[in-house]
């Protein structure tokens, strides 16, 4: 005697995003903390030292936040005009920032007043940074020059004018104190060596460069600008490795995660994209406004994103510790030991084994189907929880009833309440391509069965009206899609080369050598 075969619920694969380790890693962030700043956040920089405070440049201020504080632990407010590009020195003790008026200020992280002021730029200085020896500061300005300053003496060491447009990107090398990379609105990325005093490498990005970034090995260079993110191989003389086009607006910032050196890019289209090592997007953070700046804390503890509306959004990483405190608060169920009790007993060789038939556990709707209670089975499948969270189970039961030829019986004889349930389910899922076929059958049968009594219930009538509307809309959409498909087909057909002609032309050539051989 064969046992009852339960209803098969089809689990169709989810299209689109596939779950990988990367996505799981980047999903593991808490919901963001929003901090309101006074203006657009143009620069975020993490201190390389242990507490990993970060400096946020917005409007005329630079705020320094602790990793978990929502209030600034220190703020530098002595700017007359908008401040730009506040960045830490390698030891985290000094901070340098440019400003709209062309002044560059150097702060001690514990003090308030600027230690040094470098004057010389005639226009706004958008990017400033320490070189890796810590004694020199490099700055790029809208007056097309960039200058290198000596910190102890506060004098200008050199000034180079090679770019032909505003300089908006700067990345000093961490390995060599004389190297740095600049990007400008003149569509080029240049690598400068202070020892020669001029650029040693120039790469054409093709769009105004917003941000440049060096990989820790400094063999790869990332430049962003326009909608493109380009990766350059410096060891091959600046050859373009890949060009990514995943954003649909200007990419304004890029940074690297410290675990695995994954690239993150932020754009005016309000998305932060995370790439894996083969430069495929593995995760996507959504923000409320266009993104101007972004930084990742060491060990990927915090992802801070600054936006045009002056909001700083900080995401903290989830930790296992947090989860444990949550679960311990819940009431603990019976332990694993209870369930495996006696089940893992291995009989000895001379034991006489009495085997018990394995009991088949059936779901409630399966039990009802087994005893041919079709209406009840449909009711069970239409219970709120199943209907909302597992619609595929409901549809599987409907398909099974249809296969048994009893779907009409199951749908007949229902009152207003249960009919509304069915119609609501139809309204929600009838366009789902997975479910539409069986659900259209249900719709047909419902109309056939209740045509006479429909006008008695205004609720049902309204629902049917809605169903008609959405079906009409869907039909229009389908028609439009078909039209688009037709257009595409003609395009493709005109694009494919005509092979027959080529083959015919090639034939005589083939015959030539044969004739010669003959």
């Amino acid at each position: 005697m064969a046992s009852f075969k339960p209803t098969k619920v089809q689990f169709l694969p989810k299209l689109g995003e596939k779950v990988t380790e990367d996505t799981l890693y980047w999903k593991n962030y808490k919901s963001p903390v929003q901090i309101k700043e006074f203006g657009a956040v143009t620069k975020i920089d993490f201190s390389p030292l242990a507490p990993h405070n970060y400096a946020v440049t917005a409007s005329t201020r630079i705020h320094v936040y602790g990793l978990h504080s929502q209030e600034p632990i220190r703020s530098f407010t002595r700017f007359r005009d908008t401040a730009y590009g506040g960045s830490f020195r390698g030891d985290g003790k000094l901070l340098v920032a440019g400003s709209e008026e062309g002044l560059i200020r150097l702060f001690d992280i514990s003090g308030r007043v600027a230690l040094r002021q470098f004057t010389g730029h005639s226009k706004a200085v958008h990017v400033t940074s320490f070189l890796s020896d810590g004694f020199r500061v490099v700055s790029g300005s809208d007056d097309l020059t960039f200058r290198v300053w000596d910190v102890p003496s506060a004098v200008e060491l050199s000034s180079i004018t090679e770019h032909t447009d505003y300089i908006r990107a700067l990345a000093p090398s961490k390995l060599n104190p004389d190297l740095f990379v600049t990007g400008s609105y003149d569509h080029t990325v240049k690598v400068f060596d202070m020892r020669s005093g001029s650029s040693v490498m120039t790469m054409q990005h093709g769009h105004p460069v917003e941000c440049v970034l060096l990989y820790p090995s400094e063999a790869l260079l990332v430049s962003t600008g326009g909608r493109y993110v380009k990766i350059w191989d410096l060891l091959k003389g600046g050859q373009e490795l890949v060009s990514l086009k995943n954003h649909h607006k200007t990419v304004t910032c890029a940074c690297l995660s410290s675990v695995g050196n994954k690239l993150l890019t932020g754009s005016l289209d309000r998305h932060v994209k995370v790439y894996n090592s083969s430069y495929k997007v593995v995760h996507n953070f959504d923000c409320d406004a266009s993104i101007l700046s972004m930084a990742v804390a060491p060990d990927d503890e915090v992802v801070a994103v600054g936006m045009t509306n002056g909001v700083l959004s900080v995401r903290h990483r989830k930790h296992k510790k947090d989860k444990e405190t949550l679960t311990s608060r819940r009431r603990r169920g019976p332990s694993y030991r209870v369930f495996v009790k006696g089940k893992n007993f291995v009989p000895r060789q001379d034991d006489f084994l009495v085997s018990k038939p394995v009991k088949q556990y059936l779901r409630k709707y399966d039990k009802q189907l087994k005893s041919f209670e079709v209406s009840k089975a449909l009711d069970t499948a239409l219970q709120t929880w199943t209907r909302t969270s597992k619609p595929e189970v409901t549809v599987a039961v409907i398909i099974e009833l249809n296969r048994r030829g009893t779907l009409k019986n199951a749908l007949a004889g229902r009152n207003e309440e249960s009919l509304t349930k069915i119609l609501n389910f139809l309204l929600k899922h009838i366009f789902d391509p997975r479910f539409s076929r069986p659900l259209l059958t249900v719709g047909d049968i419902v109309l056939d069965l209740y045509r006479q009594v429909l006008h008695q219930s205004p609720v049902v009538e309204r629902q049917l009206q809605r169903l008609m509307e959405v079906l009409g809309r869907e039909a229009e959409l389908q028609q439009e899609l078909l039209q688009v498909l037709g257009i595409l087909d003609t395009l493709f057909a005109s694009l494919t080369p005509r092979k027959e002609v080529a083959a015919l032309a090639a034939l005589p050539v083939d015959q030539g050598p044969q004739l010669q051989a003959a």
Binding site: M1, A2, F4, K5, Q10, K18, R404, G405
Partner: protein, 751 residues
Amino acid sequence: MVETSDIRVVRCGGSKVNLTPPIISSDSRFVLCTSGDLVKVYSTRTEEWLHSLQGHTNQVTGITLNPANHLQVYSCSVDGTVKLWDFIDGILIKVHSGLCVSACPECFQLVSVHLPKSAEQEVEAKEMSAVSSHISKNPSCTAFGRGGEYIAFARHLQLNVYFFRKQKTYSFSLKATDKKGAKNAFTCIACHPTDDCIATGHEDGKIRLWRNFIHKKEYTYSTQHWHHNAVNTLCFTPEGTHLLSGGIESVLVQWQYGAGNRKEFLPRLGGSILHISASSDGQLFCTSHSDNKITVIESSFKVCGVIQGLVKDAVLTDLMIDPRSKALVLNGKPGHLQFYSLLRDKHLYNLDIVQQEYIYEAGLDQFEVVKAAFDIKGSWLATVEERGKKSSDLEFFLKLWAFDERTQSFVLNTTITAAHTDRIISMCFSSSEETTMLVTAAEDSQFKAWCQGADADTQQDQNFWSCDFVGSYHKLNPTNCSFSADSSLLAVSFQEVITIWSPDTWEMLTTLCQPPGVIRDLCFGRLSCSKYLLGTTTKNLLCCWNLLTCELEWSTSVDVSKLQPDPFSENVAAFSYQSKHTDLFVFKPSEPRPLFTNKNVCSEKVHRAVFVPREEPLNSCDESTQWLNRSQLYFLTQNMDLLTFSTATEEDRMLSSSKQLVIDDSVAVTPFYLLLGKHRQQQQKLNTQSHPHNMALPLLLRVPGGGLLHTPAHVLPAASVLCSMFVNSFLISNTGVQQDPLRYFVHIWLT
């Protein structure tokens, strides 16, 4: 044209075992059932086929135990004879011939035949008297009453009871229907073994128990109703305490006799129940089902054995050979594929393809397996199941099964729900060893190639199948697809055009067309003929193209219904249907002259055929039989008869092997058996007829003294038995009688 006489068409195994009620021997050790021309004897414990009673020349229509001797069985057949057998040893005892077979197929008569007692083997039964001239053609509408006093038979709405002693018939009739829409036509009858009660089954599922029918007027009946459709069969247990009934629902129902509505159920037995029989001690029941199956059930309602025959009622798939087990594969019971060993004539196993609860209800549109294909190594199986032939919305699934070495069966790997938008017409695996690829062609004017491949995105080792290529040709519907022997070419026929594709680059290489008719069948040549492509069209044309020159090599006008290439040689078999009979041509694609021709193979069309590899090749040198050396051609006619070709050499070999197989002792040959078993046999022999010369012969020959001395004392029989034997075993035999003839003597004395 070589006219051959040494190749003939023979019916091979897989006949129906469910035609008549099976019977259980009185010791409950054997189940006997009819199977074509044979009566087959199975063991109830092991479900093994022990032997068969061979002798009838036509379909056996009924068997019954001899009431006088429970070791004998009567069988009757359409050839007009009733034969008496000893079913344990499989020996024909008596033949009663001369029963006339009336030519009229419409009317069935019930006659009583007096079987004369005679010592001769061939007896002609002459005394016949008609009981009724109009009975139902269904044998279950006839039953003997208590102690054979009366016989009850029903036809349409009339129940007749004929009393042998009075020589009178009483008839009781029912109305055709009533207000509630009952359908009262009789479908089956059973008589109570000890009580005067007749149970009748009806078309609407009612069971009526008739009593007091000895009086013509004052009869009574009670009605019980559980079955929702016609009751197919009824059977009383030997004590008469229970009544068993079965119908299309495939639920065995046990009604307690005289206790009204108390009943027990045994559901989901398989196909609908056709017959039920009970053993004489009431410990075992047997049900035979419409899916050619016999189920052995204990009286505690537990299934203890299943004897499955070949199911071929509605063959939808092609005939296939499983490359691993060399079993014949076709769709069997609903939603399953059956694996059937043709060599042993034994059902191996069923593979559940649909994996859904089967609802036994007439007229319900169920999922059926319609296509299946194996890859060349037998490690992958592709199946297509389909539902909705009648209604407009067709549902079908393409499933791919991987062979699991550990469980030695196929495991579902991938289910593709919407492989195509319309019905899949043809399906084939690539024949190369390295990469497996499946090509499906469907009515949506596309063909698709499916590959098992890793997904680049997830970087995981995936074993699932996904679509690799979609091809079409001028929006024409494909009709066939086929891979060449080395899988370097794929031929897909679109109506009248054959397209040749390269599976590596998915480039269409060339098209071949031969105007008249849609391509019906397509196959590549093998081995030395692999440069040829064969195709048949609906306009009675068999064409052969040379793929090197892309030209038509030859064509001939034959209406080919099935083209079957032999995978082990260059030969191709073509069945052609002309003027109401089927001819077979076997040819090599390189020569237009057929190797072998057989006119009038059968009278129906042949749509399914398969070459089955032989276990050991024949070494016939005759030109006309050479093509059968390495494989055997089986084919299925439209009447679902499985036929094959057998050669003279093969039949000789079969005959010689059957002679060796006379030893039928089912008991293990232990020293104990050699001593005691033979002793018992001798005692029997002594009882029947004294024959002093041969008395001790078997023992002398078979029991050496050593065997006795090496056996532990506690398993030996009593010393009194042993003593004389032991002494005798040292005597030198002086009789010249051979061992083998002795066995035959013994049996003849016993009879």
